[in-house]
Every structure is written in C-alpha cells, then in structure tokens.
C-alpha cells in the first residue's frame, strides 16, 4: 500500500541536517548516510551522498529525475561484474 499523501515524504532528520550543513558550507564532499529509506527531496539535487550498502558508502549524485525515489534504490547490496564488451560510460 502506498504511503498516505497527507504525511508527506519520509526523510530521516539527520539526513536533512547533514545536507543543509553541506550546502551552507559550499564544500565539495560526500555526505555519508546510512538511511536507505529516506526519500530524495528537491533540496538534495546537486549534492553527492555516500549511501551505505551494508559494506561501503556508494556515491550517489542526486539529479532532478531522482526526486521521490529512496536513496537505497541507488546503492545496491549485491555486486555483479559483467564483461566490459561495448558498454559505454558517459561523463556528466
């Protein structure tokens, strides 16, 4: 069942505090968080979070199209190494 709209999106309070502090300081740093359940809010766009996957913090650059998703969706807990073949990487 989907979360009731009247409650608003869920975000752990410490994530909001850390994001706000980083934005105010203007420093280019990875914000380490353990809260995979927190929703990505519009004020997080442009920041880089290190989202814990149970082993290490995976860097997640937040962009506009990620708003409303959960941080955990971008930090998989299982790793798969395939062949490189003709796969491409784009520098954003």
């Amino acid at each position: 069942m989907a979360r009731s709209v009247w409650k608003g999106p869920f975000v752990d309070a410490y994530v909001l505090k850390k994001a706000e502090a980083t934005r105010e300081s203007g420093r280019n740093e990875v914000i380490k968080i353990w809260s995979r359940r927190s929703t990505i809010l519009p004020q997080f766009v442009g920041l880089t979070f290190g989202v814990y996957n149970g082993q290490k913090h995976i860097p997640v650059n937040v962009s506009e199209d990620m708003i409303g998703q959960k941080f955990g969706e971008y930090s998989p807990t299982r790793t798969y190494y395939g062949h490189a073949a003709d796969k491409k990487a784009k520098r954003k």
Binding site: N28, V30, A84, D86, K88, A89, K92
Partner: protein
C-alpha cells in the same frame, strides 16, 4: 590500442542439429555482436561472419560461418569470442568505452597516483569508476562527472581526478 581485443560474447553450446549455436552476448545491445565480426577465439580461430537467427532462453541463436554440424558447435562450447577494439564505433565527447577506461591509472591534480580503474559501474544515478588504490584491499568508487574527473586522456593513458572530500 590497435591490436587490442575485447571479449564480446561466449558460445554456450549447440542449438538444434544443424550446426547453430547458442550465443551469450555481453554487448549493451546483444544483437550488436554480429556487427563486430570477424570474431576470434582465444586459441586464434577466426569466424568471419555471424548471423543471428533468433533468441532462446538467455541467449541468441546464431549461425557461425565455418560451423555446419552439431558436433562442431558442441566442440565450441565455452569458447569466448573476441572482437578487435577497432571494430567498435567511435563515440562522441565525454563518452567512453568501459574497455578503454579499465586499467588506466588515476592521478590527482598534484600528480599523486590514486590507483587504477578496476571496473565501471552504474547503479542508476551516474557512472562510477571503481578505483583500486595501491596497497589497499578495498576499492573506492569515484563519480564519473566533470567535477570529479576533469581529464580523461586516452591517448596518454591517464585520468586526472579531483575527488570530493572524504572519498580517499
């Protein structure tokens, strides 16, 4: 890099009794493997053409030039297929093949070696370079962005990174 070959697929076994093979393609678009001919095996055998005729569970059905019987197809089970790096089409600016990035040394702006690229990952947000630092057991993931990776010099074979604080 002209003589470099990259693995693009593997023969999973025979399909039917007419010499067709089950082909596992590692390409981003599996059918593209037929565009990278000639394909080589690690023991030096060359296949000048491959025709994709269909799909089966987890693999493509293909007819390989030079294979006409089920016995010949069975003998190739497990053979990795390699393509010349030159066969891959050129890419626009700021796009790179994983095969070109893997293994490159990564330096910071001061010239200090941070490590070598071990893999390129993408978990949905942006591409990440997995960097193995010398003397370390674990790897570090670096966002593949213009801010964090200002220079990628494939000709010189090096990457210059400006990693965010707290990453290394």
């Amino acid at each position: 890099m002209t003589d470099e070959r990259i693995v693009v697929g593997v023969i999973a076994g025979a399909f039917g009794v007419r010499g067709d093979v089950r082909l596992k393609s590692f390409c981003a678009t599996p059918e593209d493997i037929s565009a990278y001919v000639p394909l080589w095996t690690s023991d030096g055998r060359v296949f000048p053409a491959i025709t994709i005729s269909g799909q089966t569970k987890g693999a493509l059905i293909a007819r390989v030039d030079g294979i006409s019987t089920k016995e010949e197809a069975d003998a190739l089970k497990g053979a990795e297929l390699l393509a010349d790096r030159d066969r891959l089409p050129s890419l626009p600016d700021d796009e790179y093949y994983h095969a070109d990035l893997i293994g490159l040394p990564v330096h910071d702006s001061g010239g200090t070696l941070l490590g070598h690229v071990r893999a390129v990952q993408n978990h949905g947000a942006s591409d990440l370079l997995e960097i193995h630092a010398p003397g370390q057991r674990t790897t570090v993931l670096l966002p593949f962005t213009r801010e964090a990776v200002p220079t990628v010099d494939l000709a010189a074979g090096r990457i210059v990174a400006d990693p965010p604080e707290g990453l290394f």
